[in-house]
């Protein structure tokens, strides 16, 4: 058996699951298992207890109203990929189609990907671009964190150990448009660079989010490109490796140099915005 030994519990509801986490500092959460189980098999993760929340009712599904979308934490990537989204949210199915392979997307969950917080994963950057809020539940109560504040660093989020990620809410603001682009060497690999973008109006004022992933430790907003989109200037002029360097801290690794990542990041932003404007 590849995984290390751990205790296993399958709580019937959220409150039971939260108590398990509260009472055991070494416990970890199992949802779809597509990040946790590889880490168990490689023995990178050595939890004392696996708290299997995959059967807890009420955490799955997509609910859409004219103003917002609520997505349950246990909603699978393939459910997001195949949902009948309006054009305004085109980045969601495009982005999720880049996650791993079909067999991974059938089981991997939105909440699992966000809580895992791989900096090169699609959903964290998408959630920041779409101005999502993330619902957390613990024995002490519930709270909501903006996606922009949720991702702190490599595999590190604002979620406390005893909190469960239960749902994500996305505002569907007037004029919303979204875009997504990604580059990886092989289909299904994590991105070397990706970009997720959105523009909308809020109280009559234009707003924009431009997010790159894969460049460094967490999704990064590129403020200069956001400003150019809001001001209606030529965003291509500020969509450069030099500008991205002011908003990110890329490093060299086996997949590419920091300089390569900046160039690729700028190109992904260009592609995402071009796709977004084409969908309007």
């Amino acid at each position: 058996m590849k995984p290390p030994p751990f205790a296993y519990v399958r709580p019937a509801n959220l409150d039971e699951a939260a108590l398990e986490l509260q009472s055991d500092d070494g416990a970890t959460v199992l949802a779809g298992g597509q990040s946790l189980v590889p880490m168990l098999n490689l023995r990178i993760a050595r939890p004392t207890t696996v708290v299997d929340i995959s059967r807890i009712p009420g955490l799955q599904g997509i609910e859409m109203t004219p103003e917002s979308v609520a997505i349950g934490a246990l909603t699978t990537h393939s459910a997001i990929e195949t949902y009948d989204w309006p054009t305004s949210l085109a980045a969601l199915p495009v982005g999720t189609s880049h996650i791993g392979y079909p067999a991974i997307r059938h089981r991997g969950t939105l909440g699992g990907s966000l809580a895992h917080a791989d900096p090169a994963a699609e959903l964290p950057s998408l959630m920041v671009a779409l101005d999502a809020t993330i619902d957390l539940h613990s024995a002490g109560g519930t709270r909501t964190v903006a996606a922009d504040q949720f991702f702190i660093g490599y595999y590190s989020t604002a979620r406390n150990h005893d909190e469960l990620l239960t749902a994500v809410n996305l505002p569907v603001s007037p004029g919303l448009r979204t875009g997504f682009a990604e580059f990886s060497r092989r289909t299904g690999d994590f991105a070397i660079a990706l970009a997720a973008t959105a523009t909308w109006t809020e109280a009559g004022s234009p707003r924009a989010r431009v997010v790159v992933g894969g460049l460094d430790v967490r999704p990064r907003r590129i403020g200069a490109v956001e400003e150019a989109l809001v001001e209606g200037g030529d965003w291509r002029e500020v969509c450069t490796p030099e500008v991205l360097a002011a908003f990110t801290e890329p490093s060299d690794d086996i997949h590419g140099s920091a300089d390569y990542r900046l160039r690729l990041g700028a190109e992904m932003v260009r592609r995402a915005i071009t796709q977004m404007e084409g969908d309007g």
Binding site: Y8, V50, I104, H106, R107, G188
Partner: protein, 163 residues
């Protein structure tokens, strides 16, 4: 109820139409359960961390990596392995297509490809394009064939069903 790390948990699943039960350690992967407890050696174990696809099976109608599933978490599920494709000794149309198109050489990856392609054929209709097939099998690695004959086999099976 919590199962201790050195304890066992009772698991009951339906595999290829037959109910199978066992007491397993919580850390038992579904791939190990199929092979070591049920003796179903068709599901091959390659990388054991989700890249190679050799261990793909169908769980509740959808393809999945059996090496990325803790057996207790699929309690009550319906699982199909490569042993469940043939009926009464007759190969499935997809298996026949693999044979006819020479879609395998060493055969190690073949069960995973067959399960992926079975899932693909069950979730689509009509003849499939090479693009659709290549996208669907992107998570299965073959080191012998160069994939061309595998794509040929799946395309041929998709064309045969639409005639």
């Amino acid at each position: 109820m919590k199962t201790a790390a050195d304890g066992t948990i009772s698991v009951s699943v339906t595999v290829n139409g037959t109910n199978r039960s066992a007491d397993v350690s919580p850390r038992t992967l579904l791939s190990d359960f199929l092979r070591d407890y049920l003796g179903l050696m068709g599901t091959n174990v390659g990388c054991e961390h989700g890249y190679c696809g050799a261990c793909n099976v169908i769980v509740d109608g959808q393809t999945a990596r059996s090496c990325l599933i803790l057996t207790p978490s699929v309690e009550g599920s319906e699982i199909t392995t490569v042993e469940g494709l043939a009926s009464n000794g007759d190969l499935s149309p997809l298996q026949q297509a693999f044979q006819q198109a020479h879609g395998l050489q060493c055969g190690f990856c073949t069960p995973g490809f067959l399960m992926t392609a079975t899932g693909l054929l069950e979730s689509t209709r009509g003849a499939l394009s090479d693009g659709e097939i290549r996208s669907a099998i992107s998570g299965n690695i073959c080191r012998c064939t160069g994939y061309v004959h595998i794509v040929d086999a799946i395309r041929s099976a998709s064309e045969a069903r639409s005639e």
